[in-house]
Amino acid sequence: MKKLINNPDEVVKEMISGFLYAYPSYLRKLDNVDVVVRKTSPVDGKVGLVSGGGSGHEPAHAGYVGKGMLDAACLGAVFTSPTPDQIYEAIRAVDGGKGVLLIIKNYTGDVMNFEMAKEMAEMDGIKVLEVIVDDDVAVENSTYTQGRRGIAGTIFVHKIAGAKAEEGAELEEVKEVAEKVIKNLRSMGMAFTPCIVPAAGKPSFTLDEDEIEIGIGIHGEPGTHREKIKGAKEIVAELMDKIIIDLPFRDGDEVALMINGLGSTPLSELFIANKEVNEYLLGKNINVYKTYVGEYMTSLEMSGFSISLLKLDEELKSLLDASADTPAFKQFK
């Protein structure tokens, strides 16, 4: 395991320290818990937005704390949901009197920990609502299972709910638009190589030199199946076929597109994937309104990528266009 670290057990602590050194004008850390909040939290008269998850997905989620997006991010151990006490402190720190929305990715652990924190905060009289993001179409949805996972599309929820909250909307309204995003959002990913959790010290799975994993999660969880490596065009078509049909996205739809690198895949390759996605969508007469290409929600040094598609209407477009200024997501209106 070749990593730029000091000690596998100190990775999260030291990363947070380096993160705070980098962005003192954006963020501060709460005492005793691994939670970062906006420097100015709580923002009076604004609904507070709290998200979080395991570490190892940087810049998610701490990188999205700032104007126009989140108010707080709770950082768990690597690939491990944060704990209720952290989330509870986050809620308390960002409640500006209008209540707090929790943006949770749909993992058993995340949901349980966030809901325990919600119960604790409600006992303090804070109004807390939640939305659960489950954009990954790789996993079949079924009432018998946990349901779909939340992956990189979550950034669109942060962005759009964040813009709505920034406008001064009420908690219910912010939740409503977040749910609209979730309802219109689909993602799917694949991997070329695994990643190594520092504390584990070895890859969580292995792939042959000519093998790829389709439908991979963002925690090194195995995907839906393996196949022989193939070209970017074919890989994109396989993911897009599943994404498109699921909503379904139709002729004439306008979408926001995210090509998200999982860690090691060079930006040049993400752009090649973007070309393929655009050509695929052109063929279906689906119009790309806005594109994001980069590393938005990673899996340590995993090589691979995911595609997220969000169907837009006028409200979502204008919220997506709103300006945002966070360490990892900056956008001029």
Partner: protein
């Protein structure tokens, strides 16, 4: 046959033994999780039980209920993931049932285990057969109760419970996960042993081993 009773001291010893067993099996549990999850179950529990061990000195003068509640709270705030709230709830609920007590008899132990397991089921909305820790715990609880009802004593009952927990663990290999991260794998999870069921078995087995060595 004299009825066996567990004291505060026994409970503290058992918790400390569990910490050690988890530390020993940290890699094993993590490897099991790597196959069908995200390769952190052993790391998570070890982090939690290390924190428990560190806080132990503060529990020494407390009653068993308070000790178990504290253990649960430490687990909730340090383990994270799915197993954190689940094991945390398990210990907190057990603590609730024996609040104020300084000794535990057979009935207490059954009641504790029952309350803990319902806590897990409420929190995680899973049931037996979903390929989770419940698949070790529920057969163990059933076996504990039936062995005791036959009047065969705590020692034998807990040993039988541990055996059935182990069978439950083996059974998780044959089924597909319906809850937790492994459920994303669908049929591909078949053939792999559930890490949470395994850690649950290890804890029950640790209790059995401890009780087995007690003077009767």
């Amino acid at each position: 046959m004299i009825k066996l009773i567990l004291t505060t001291n026994d409970v503290l010893n058992i918790i400390s033994n569990i910490s050690e067993v988890i530390e020993t099996n940290r890699q094993y549990l993590t490897d099991l999780d790597a196959a069908i999850g995200d390769a952190d179950h052993g790391i998570n529990l070890d982090r939690g039980f290390k924190a428990v061990k560190e806080k132990m000195p503060q529990f020494l003068d407390k009653d068993i209920g308070a000790i178990l509640k504290n253990v649960g709270m430490v687990l909730v705030s340090t383990v994270g993931g799915a197993s954190g709230p689940l094991y945390g709830t398990f210990f907190m609920r057990m603590g609730n049932v024996v609040s104020g007590k300084n000794t535990l008899d057979e009935n207490d132990i059954v009641a504790m285990f029952e309350a803990g397991l319902s806590g897990i089921k409420e929190r995680g909305k899973a049931q037996a057969g979903d390929k989770t820790m419940i698949d070790a715990m529920e057969p163990a609880l059933n076996e504990l109760k039936s062995t005791l009802s036959e009047g065969r004593g705590l020692k034998e009952a807990i040993e039988a419970a541990a055996n059935d927990a182990y069978n439950g663990v083996l059974m998780t290999k044959d089924i597909a996960a319906k809850k937790g991260r492994a459920s994303y794998l669908g049929e591909r999870s078949i053939g792999h042993q559930d890490p949470g069921a395994t850690s649950a078995y290890l804890m029950i087995k640790t209790v059995a081993d401890y009780v087995d060595k007690l003077q009767q």
